[in-house]
């Protein structure tokens, strides 16, 4: 495909462009008029994309069939007949009603704010590093998904997070302290490792979400925020509430809570079906090491957890390990690794130090 065709496809893959062409009341009209004025190239591209789109529409229109009137009536008669018949038997029938209409309704909700995401340029995403976290450690880690796809991130406690495009989290590097705390902007899916002693808090611009261990999705886009729970139990607070005093909204699996900025309240509903964002296991790093140099193992951990690992490369140069790691916390992983090479480790806010005598040359 040549450059020009690519550019036209980009326009056609843009909801705002298509809406502008198809919807006479499109809110994007002004935007595109300005875009077109910006350059002669833009004018030509928009013109060609528009024409192509309208011809596809004409093409679709030609295969649209007008239903035979008699058939329409006949189908309706059948519907009415069935409704009346079922009304007679309704009391004797077991309840086995389908609720996906409601599900569809909730999905509409999900779509609405996803749609908003799309319209945000990464640059516009406000970085609300808020004051909610009182002690701000120097070793704060910010992780940001600047790619086009959902991306998997690992937290030092073993929890996993999928960040949607443009989403960001920040937390103190090792999540030390009595709470595990994460700040979030954008949309994310959390799979939190259970640890009742160290509750997990997520701070969004408007909400505080507290969990012990569970999986759920959080979406914060401008003033639309919502939490949808997949498994476990989640407590949601409004930010101006006192965390210890006021009652949180408790969410159970398949519930979704949405914050309405206008009313300053949380609305809870049920959803069924899948969430738009799930744990991205596809891009998880391979943690099965076979006869791997120690260096490789540490590099993998450094990237996974955004934590530097300090060790004397020379001392450990002969160390090769075979190890299979999975969803342990960073600390547990380090324990397993250091045990196999007869070393020890210490952790501080700036990273991990490995001490030991190294391995024998085999």
């Amino acid at each position: 495909m040549d450059e020009r065709a690519k550019k036209i496809n980009i326009l056609l893959l843009d909801n705002r462009f298509v809406d502008w062409i198809l919807n006479p009341q499109s809110p994007y009209m002004e935007y595109w008029l300005q875009w077109i004025e910006a350059s002669i190239e833009n004018t030509g591209l928009a013109e060609e994309a528009k024409q192509f789109l309208l011809e596809l529409r004409t093409g679709e229109n030609e295969s649209e069939k007008e239903l035979d009137g008699a058939l329409t009536v006949q189908m309706w008669t059948h519907i009415e007949h069935t409704i009346e018949q079922e009304a007679v038997f309704v009391q004797n029938r077991p309840r086995r009603q389908k609720i996906y209409w409601l599900a569809a309704a909730v999905v509409v909700g999900l779509i609405l704010f996803s749609a908003v995401i799309l319209f945000l340029k990464p640059g516009d995403t406000s970085i609300a590093v808020s004051s909610a976290m009182k002690e701000k450690s120097a070793a704060e880690v910010i992780r940001y998904n600047g790619s086009e796809k959902n991306q998997l991130f690992f937290l030092p406690d073993g929890s996993k997070i999928t960040l949607a495009k443009g989403a960001r989290i920040s937390y103190s590097r090792l999540m030390s302290g009595k709470k595990r705390q994460v700040q979030l902007t954008g949309e994310a899916y959390f799979d939190v490792v259970k640890n009742p002693e160290k509750p997990f808090y997520i701070y969004t611009p408007k909400l505080v979400i507290k969990v012990l261990g569970t999986s759920f999705r959080v979406s914060t886009v401008e003033n639309k925020e919502s939490v949808a729970v997949r498994t476990g139990k989640v407590s949601v607070y409004l930010k101006d509430q006192d965390l210890e005093q006021s009652a949180p909204k408790i969410l159970l699996p398949h519930q979704i809570s949405t914050y309405l900025a206008a009313k300053k309240e949380l609305i809870t509903a049920t959803y069924t079906g899948a969430l738009k964002i799930e744990l991205e296991v596809a891009n998880a790093p391979n943690l099965d090491f076979e006869d791997a140099p120690l260096d490789t193992v540490f590099k993998t951990l450094e990237i996974m957890y955004a934590v530097p690992v300090h060790y004397n490369a020379n001392t450990f140069k002969n160390c090769y390990i075979s190890i299979s790691l999975s969803s342990e916390s960073l600390e547990e992983k380090l324990e397993v690794i250091t045990k196999t090479i007869g070393a020890s480790f210490t952790i501080n806010d700036y990273g991990i130090n490995i001490e030991g005598k190294g391995c024998m040359n085999q």
């Binding site: 298509v18 189908m75 309706w76 519907i79 409704i83 609720i99 209409w101 309704a105 509409v108 738009k276």
Partner: protein, 188 residues
Amino acid sequence: MIARTDLPMIWSRFKNGDRKALESIYKTYVNILVNYGLKITSDADLVKDCIQDLFVELWKSRQRLVDTTDPKFYLFRALRNKLSRALAQQSFVSEAEIQLSADSLVTGYIELEIAAKEQDLYTYHKVHQLLNKLPRRQHEVIYLRFYHNFSYETISSLMNMNYQSVLNLMSRALKTLRKGYQPITLQK
């Protein structure tokens, strides 16, 4: 047909048990539902049956429905779910698998064929032939996006695919279509 501005009112009348309101919703949407159904399967009887079931169920669950200004999305999604289930039962193969194999098989072939005919295809009347030669799901995306102005997010929910896959599907469709297409203004 119901005027767009009357839709919320009709919808709430239907929710309160007004059978006439259901009838007007039926009359407003039955045509586009049949057309959409035929994009998913060419089995017209199955489409007809599913639409009938859909309205019966709509009536039964009316009290639990939310208010809406545009029921089209509900109706499309429900119809698609019904058809998918019915088709999967018919073939004993999951819908996803069917789509996967059908898509990968047909695309390559279509592209070859279109390339060969590239010279002949220049009038816009041919556009709808091009469309009908697309693999089913590619055609469906084009139809939903360009004909019904559903956003890509809505389509991903409707078709039960993730957002990126919808964009990929659309890209493939556009690529194939553009190969066979020449703008009218360039006609000699």
